[in-house]
Amino acid sequence: MEHKHTQTAARDLATVGLMIALAFTLSWLESLIPFSFGVPGVKLGLSNLVVVTALYALPLRRSFPVALARILLAGLLFGNGFSLIYSLAGGMLSFGVMLLLKRGAFSPAGVSVAGGVSHNLGQFAAACILLGTNGLFYYLPVLLASGLVTGLLIGGVALPVIRRLDRAGFTENGKGEEKNG
């Protein structure tokens, strides 16, 4: 049993690759769904499921590349130059906030909610700088509300995934973390 818990470099690399591929696939899947709320920036953010999971299952030096690579890949293939800037601003702020809250008194559901809201907040800040108009504040409450709802949905799915990875001894701290869910 003991060797199962050993994190070898090869296993880490394979896990990171797998997670990037998974996030990329989810981004692609989402780009196929004709979901539009009529407000720019509002979307499901399916690939955030992988980032939340990676945050709990992998050490920081492995989870950060997953978060960054999924943004760059999806931005280059499904977006354009500007959407990449928005995704980067949102994704990086979201990752930082989730990393901080993970250490606090929050379950993956709360961390995911904070991630969803801060993602939209980062995008909003980028849009304010790029578009140079204060009319955007009209959209802010809608963006935050959508981040809350999608974050809750993603967190609800991530919770059982992380619990199962924990039980399988797959996560950073083996069975020690989140044992009571």
Binding site: G38, G104, V113, L131, G135, Y138
Partner: protein, 123 residues
């Protein structure tokens, strides 16, 4: 779910509610003009009192067509990727805004200093 999660969600709901109250409730008054901006620069100010239809070119051959009709402004055509701007409902109240992110294009309804109908920017 932990206790912290509930506190976080309730806190966020309070913030969102407050933001809705601040940015959505006082918008009852009709706006004076629609301000068109590209890349943050004000391109044109259209009086809402005068019907008009104008086409605005942005970088890389992009365009948005802005229509003012019955005191309301909308984006009626655009060649951006997502067309979120063109699907947006017409706006007429102060602070309301239509955004086209791919073209860095915004139309914002504002209470301008110029009296209604006094803006001579309409072609």
């Amino acid at each position: 779910m932990k206790k912290g999660d509930l506190v976080l969600i309730l806190g966020l709901l309070a913030v969102i509610g407050a933001l809705f109250a601040v940015f959505w409730l006082p918008k009852k008054s009709g706006g004076g003009a629609a301000v068109v901006r590209i890349d943050g620069e004000t391109v044109e100010t259209l009086a809402l009192g005068t019907d008009a239809e104008k086409r605005y070119e942005s970088a890389d051959g992009g365009y948005n067509v802005v229509t003012v009709k019955d005191g309301r402004v909308s984006v009626t055509a655009a060649n951006c990727r997502d067309r979120i701007c063109a699907r947006h409902r017409p706006v007429s109240k102060n602070g309301e805004c239509i955004v086209c992110l791919p073209h860095c294009f915004t139309v914002t309804v504002e209470q301008t200093a110029a009296p209604e109908g006094g803006v001579d920017a309409v072609a």
